[in-house]
Symmetry: C2
Subunit: 140 residues, 2 copies
């Protein structure tokens, strides 16, 4: 797993079209996920890689997201499925399951959590704060 | 080298403060780079890694940026020094030299090119188009 975390002043996403790649892409039902937005929150762009262990990586990344939320004193997180931090992508259906697990774990941690649609091209709006530690890279 | 390329409707950046990490961080003179913006352009977030060969990686990434500019029919590129795509960072001064080389090569290719300030915390504004191929990951 590779992940890029931002402390965002604004996050917004709009569904554009279903993705046709990578091969075998899983397309989640788009219902309710056409448009999403969040202000002053931690946004995690997450790439699931081949061989990732669901339990291990979901525990590691949720711990990091919670830590960053605590540091910036916010209780809102966004989980963004993102296929652009690695060339060693996990099979789409398994990636989706791990991302759902991450979403569920964050909710259990009492973070207000949204997860962005899986399997689509999306337009993206991001305003990132400029303070130290506004962007973090993690590999597990 | 690792790089994340976006076709951006809007890109904007504001200098916030000089960075204090990683250790030995090189801080470029900020003069003229306090605020930068660009519309409808290819934005390349680039992380230089230990062992990167200046000539090889700068040729590879500029080729990819030019290809993406051609595909989206734009002649504007933004080079963003970005330390958050790898944990294997190159020494800062050498990273800076490679990023300058990339900037120069893109200008030689007749792309209108801006390079974002090196060695600072910055706030960031991004609006990414939603079309297929709007985001690309590359490793060299």
């Amino acid at each position: 797993m590779r992940a890029l975390l931002f402390h965002a002043e604004e996050y917004g996403v709009s569904f554009h079209s279903f993705a046709n790649r990578p091969k075998g892409i899983f397309k989640e039902d788009v219902n309710g996920k056409e448009e999403q937005s969040c202000n002053n929150c931690v946004v995690a762009f997450i790439t699931i890689e081949k061989g990732d262990n669901k339990k291990k990586v979901s525990e590691s990344i949720t711990k990091e997201i919670k830590k960053m939320c605590d540091e910036v004193k916010r209780d809102k997180a966004v989980v963004v499925p993102f296929a652009h931090l690695s060339n060693n992508l996990c099979e789409p259906k398994k990636s989706f399951e791990i991302l759902e697990e991450i979403e569920n774990k964050l909710k259990e941690m009492k973070l207000k959590t949204i997860r962005t649609h899986f399997g689509s091209n999306k337009s993206l709006h991001l305003d990132i704060y400029g303070h130290t530690g506004n962007a973090r890279y993690r590999e597990f």
